[in-house]
Subunit: 347 residues, 2 copies
């Protein structure tokens, strides 16, 4: 597909950049140059996607790998209440991957970028004998003083999530089963939730512009793990009610018990839905849809302490984070990784 790197770079240049007065220099110099918007602050985030950890070449088509790599970063911008603007893409490409793969990877990435008005303005490419590793950097802008943080939750605040939980983990389960049985089932909506997650940028902007949320973050590692991070940052605790969890909807032929769906909703990663808290007064009058997105109250913020799970029958349990710690490395699985700094406390 690409005979030389310069041919590849020309292809990138012709596809990467949208028009925009804030962009002064895109791909093609030592660095990119942008003009920050006045009265706004700049959000910066970076997300690794590692072959064998975040994706595998037999289950994830190249378009999905590109889409997901950017979606991870855009979801962080959404969680801060920002409008995404620019992206840079660094890719250490395995020699085993073809020119078609890298073209399709960028197709998936560019399609998502265009839909959110994001310009790809730079990056770095290496071809090497190891695994394929992608690092996507995204910038966003947020009006001065309107950023949403993890640290603003107060006791009594109501906890909301936007959209159903566990859909990505369910899709991965189905994909694994399908792969095992030789059928890809890529047409299936449940699988597409996993392959092409939708970052909730419009909702994030809406929440920040209207000062609805006292705190916010995106669900990348599962509710039990991410809620704990939000609580640690805010110095509070939380209670979740299983009866309130918006469970993913599994296709009938793929039989899952209610308990299994609950597990996916509590611990499944890569949903990229927003988790946010709202003051009790505001929560009472909150519409069921915000920025076109259905939001669900799932619990409330409590005093600092362990996270609690209230079962349908009223039994209370501890809600333990079932996240992945890279420094303990107990398991090998396709699971999201942790960003720097989510955990302030001990885990």
């Amino acid at each position: 597909v690409f005979k030389s790197e310069s041919q590849f770079v020309r292809w990138l240049q012709s596809h990467a950049t949208l028009a925009g007065s804030e962009l002064r220099l895109g791909i093609g110099d030592d660095a990119a140059l942008v003009r920050p918007l006045r009265g706004h602050e700049l959000i910066l985030t970076t997300d690794l996607s590692v072959e064998g950890t975040h994706f595998s070449s037999d289950m994830h088509p190249a378009e999905s790998v590109g889409h997901r790599a950017l979606a991870r970063a855009l979801s962080d911008i959404a969680a801060m209440g920002g409008k995404p603007k620019f992206a840079l893409v660094s890719i250490a490409l395995s020699r085993r991957y073809s020119g078609e793969w890298i073209r399709d990877f960028y197709k998936g990435l560019f399609r998502l970028a265009r839909r959110f008005g994001v310009s790809v303005i730079g990056g770095d490419t290496a071809v090497h004998p190891g695994l394929t590793i992608v690092d996507v950097i995204a910038t966003g802008e947020v009006q001065y003083g309107r950023v949403m943080r993890r640290s603003g939750a107060n006791v009594g605040d109501q906890i909301f999530v936007a959209g159903r939980l566990g859909g990505s983990a369910l899709g991965l389960k189905m994909l694994r089963a399908g792969t095992k049985h030789g059928s890809r089932e890529t047409q299936d909506a449940a699988i597409n939730v996993h392959l092409f997650p939708e970052p909730q940028c419009r909702l994030g902007e809406f929440l920040s512009k209207n000062r609805i949320a006292t705190s916010a973050m995106d669900l990348s590692d599962g509710l039990s793990t991410d809620l704990r991070r939000l609580c640690e940052a805010s110095g509070v605790g939380a209670r979740i009610h299983t009866s309130l969890l918006p469970l993913a909807i599994a296709p009938p032929r793929f039989r899952l018990t209610l308990r299994e769906l609950e597990r996916l909703a509590l611990h499944g990663g890569e949903d990229y839905k927003l988790l946010f808290t709202v003051s009790p007064r505001r929560a009472r009058s909150l519409p069921r849809k915000l920025a076109g997105m259905e939001v669900f109250r799932v619990g409330e913020i409590t005093k600092a302490g362990a996270l609690a799970l209230v079962r349908d029958d009223g039994r209370k349990e501890r809600l333990l984070p079932q996240g992945y710690d890279h420094f303990r490395c107990r398991t090998k699985r396709i699971e999201p990784l942790r960003k720097h700094g989510p955990s302030f406390g001990s885990s």
Copy 2:
């Protein structure tokens, strides 16, 4: 060293960030938040450092890998005439690497960051079975309209480089020889030029503030390769005189011919010195030192066409780029990679 990822993140937080009114949120949320300086534009760059390509664990101590990973990005900021401000560090760490390695990697990176007033404000970490891959994102600011580009060189402009060329390639040569003979010679200044290159940020700012350069870039892949990129971006040609090349100084016990030193100066990578062009009028009165850095005139910009090399005896040759093309992958060596977009033309 680090028992868990949260412990590692706390260590990072306590070392990473310098005070600064422009930083609003560092490590510890979904993304970092900065306040852009008024009247300035924002420079963004990202650089991969890949094990086996940019460094090898037997030759490069962890401190050097951290230093070099950041230096690559700061050198891009310097080339644009910017003042470096913030960095984000993504690292896919091989399971083979120890906690000591990652601590020493960050020590080397933080030491360089502090010296240049750069705050590390975020990143992403993964531990995986593959090779260690680092991606450093750096931001810089440059006064509105003062950015230096590759595309501004005019016919007749004089070509300058800042500092001696080929020093990094020479240091690598010595390091290889030393490793082979079982002696590390890390005390040697020539080896340190390779292990701990100094990005020329002060010179870059000086050139841009005083509008000295008509075009600029940093030498990461060797003069013959990078000058060609500058010429392609500017739509010009160039002539280099071997008699003017500021050759690296090899220790006496390491015997190299003049021709070998010339080859290193023309084609050796990873020098991270600035290459810039100056109008003939301005060049006549240019001091030998700028911002404390010795600058050398090495040739002149000509009409578009092949790059020419004029030998000491007056013979003229074509100067062919001896860079590395990742899509052709002819060689395996520890050599710098190419950033997106340096080459507009065919190569």
